[in-house]
C-alpha cells in the first residue's frame, strides 16, 4: 500500500480564517442541536443556515479567491 502524502501550507491569516469558519460552523451546530432539543426543527434549520450563510464569504475566498487561475 502506497503512502498517502498530504501537504498543507497555510499562511497565519489563512489559518485564522479557517478557525473563524470552523467557529461559525460550530456555533451553527450548537444552535441546531439546541433548537432541536427544544422541539423547534424549523428554527434549528434556520439557525444552521444563518451560520452557514455567514461563513460563505470566507469559504468562497479560501477555496476560489486565489492566484493561479485565468
Amino acid at each position: 500500500m502506497k503512502d498517502i502524502k498530504l501537504t498543507l501550507s497555510l499562511k497565519w491569516y489563512e489559518i485564522l480564517l479557517v478557525m473563524i469558519e470552523m467557529g461559525l460552523l460550530a456555533a451553527g451546530s450548537w444552535a441546531l442541536a439546541d433548537s432541536l432539543m427544544i422541539g423547534s426543527p424549523v428554527a434549528a434549520w434556520r439557525f444552521l443556515l444563518l451560520f452557514i450563510i455567514w461563513a460563505l464569504p470566507g469559504a468562497a475566498i479560501l477555496f476560489f479567491f486565489k492566484p493561479g487561475r485565468d
Partner: protein
Amino acid sequence: MDNKKKYILISLWSATALTVIWFFAAGLSIYAFLTFFVMLATSFMAWGLSGKVTDNMRKKAIHGVNAFWIVMAFLFLFPFPVPDRPEYVVGEVHRFSEPNHGWGRGLLGALGPNLVYHGLVFTPAEEIKGLGDYGALPTFVTTFPLTRALFGATSITDGLRDNVQHGGEPTKIVPYAWTTWKGASRENKIGWNKGDLLLGDVAQKVGYETAKYTPEENALMIKEIGLWLGSMTVGICKVDPRWFYSHDFLSMGTPLDLKDVKEMKYAIQVFTDQNWRRVHNDPGHSWWSITKSGQAYSTSAWIAVRMAQMLRDMGYKARVGHGGINYDTAESPFSVYNGLGEYGRLSDAVVPTAGGLRFKSATILTDFPLAPDENKQGHGITKFCEHCDRCARACPVNAIPQGDMTVENGVKMWHVDKDKCVRFRAGNLNGNCCNECLRVCPYNKPDTMFHRLGVYITRHSPISAYLFGNVNAIGLEDWLDFETSSWAGKYNINRPARWIQEDEGFKMKFPYVIGKYVFTEDDRSTAEEWSTGVGAQMGKVGLKYKGVVWGKIPDRLLDKNGRNRNVHWDYKEGELPKGLPLPGKYMPIEEVTKLLKSGQLYTGGWYKKNDDVYPKRSEKYEKGLLKYEDAVKMWEKE
C-alpha cells in the same frame, strides 16, 4: 479578463453594494443582511474563477473577512458594561386602584354586561351559579375542569395570605395548621431552626455557624429556601408604598390605608414558569391559555404562603400577594426594582431568568430585615424592546403599542390598552384567554446554555438590539420562525380574532356602583364603541401576514359544525341573551357624591383629579416627582 466577465463582476459587486443600501433602507432587515453575505460570497467566487487574483489581493480579502469577524465577535461577546436600568418614573405617580385594572373593570362590569356573563356561552347558567362569592363570576376561568382545579387552588390559598386583615384582604382568614397564635406577629422572635444554625447552601457559603440575622444572611437564606420550594428565581427589594393598590378588588372597593401596612418594608418575589412546552405549543384559541395562568398562579401562591408562614412563625409580619386577583400591590414593579427584569413593550416586566414574560409571580411583604438585591444595573430589555415589536404584531386586537414609549401616571414605558386586552382575553370565543405576546417574545425560550448566551449578548452588546430586534417583521426571530415549529403551526400567530361584543348601541351609564366601589365617567373605556363591533376590523383581522389571512379560522381547527374544535361550541346562535343585567347598578350622581363624602362608597383611579378620589390621596407619596430611591427612604422612616 474579457469584457463579458468584467461586466458580470461589476454587476455582482454592484448587487452586493445594493444589499448594504437595502439593509439600512429597510431598517436593518435580516433578509438584506443575509443576502449581503450570499452576494459577497458569489462575487468573490466569480472573481476568483474568472479574474486574475494575486497573492496580495487574496491576503487583503482574507484580512478583511478576518477583521470583520473579529470586530463582530468583540461587539457581540465582549462584556461591555451593562447600562443602568432606565429611569421609568418621570412624573407624579398615583396609587393604582385594583378594581380599575383591566380584569377589575372587565369582571366588575365597567366594560359592559356581555363580557361579565360571557361564560354563559360555554357553561349552563345553573352550573355557574354559586361558584363564586364575590359578585360577578370570572366565568372564563371556570369553563374547564382543569382550569377550575388550578385557579380554584388560588381561592384556597387566599385565606392563608395573612393572619390579619388589611384593606378587606384576605377576605376570609384561614388559620394555618400547627400554630396557636392569632396576632399579627409573635413577641418573641425565634430562629431558623432549633439550633439556630444556618441551613443548606447558605451554611456552605458563610460557614456552619449560628445565625447572626444580618440582612445579608437573611436574604441568602430566603433565596435558598425560595429556590428549594420551587421558585425559578427569587428577588428581594425594598417597598415603594405607591405600589400598594389604593382600593381592593375582591372586597369590591375597600380602601387600603398605608398606615396599616407601614411595617411592610421588604418584598420577596417568587416565580413560577408557565412552561415553554405549553406556552410555545398551545395557541390562545385552545383552553390551555388561562389554565397555564392557573397553574403558575397557584404554584407561586403555594410557595409564597408557606414561606410567609415560616416568617410569621419566626416572629415577623408577612403578607402574601398572589394571583389571579389576590394581590395587595401591582406586581411588575417588584420584578424591575429587585433587579431581575426591566419593563418591556407589554407594560410588564420581562425577567430573562424566568422565561421573559412566561412566569407568574407572588410576593411576600414583610418586616423581616433583608438586604435588597442590586437594582441599578439593567438588562438592556427596554432598549431591546425599542427595536422589537413581535408582541405588538402578534396581538390579535392591537392592544400592545407599536412605536415609542409614552408617559402615563408619571411612568415612561409602553402602556398596553388594557380594556382591549381584557375584552379579548376574557371574551375570546375561540378559546380561553390569549397567549400570543408571551409566546412570541424572544426571551421566551427554555433556559439552555445557548439561550443564556443570547441573553448575555442582548445584555452586553451595544449592537445586538439593532440586529436582533424585530421591528417591521425583519428581525432574527422572524428569520428563525420558532412559531412554525410549534404544534399548532403558524396558525398560532394567526388565529381568528373573535370575542364577545356588547349589544349594538351599548353605552355604559355612570356613576356605576358595585359593592363599595364607584366607577365614574372618568372610568369610561376608550374602547367602548369598538366593544360593540364598530371598527371590529381593527387589529390585524383581515390583514395578511406570512401569507395567511387574519380572521379566517383554519380548516383543520374546525369541527363538523364549522366551529373551532378547541372550544365547547354547545350553544345556539345568538351567543348570549339580549339585555343581560350588569352585576352592579347605576346610581344618580348626587346620591353617589353624598355617599362618597360620608365614607360609605369609594372611588379611585390614577387619572382622576385629587378631589374626585375617595379616600384622599397621600400628600406625601402621591404629589410631585418622587423617584423610587427617595420613596423607599421615606417609607423606611414610617
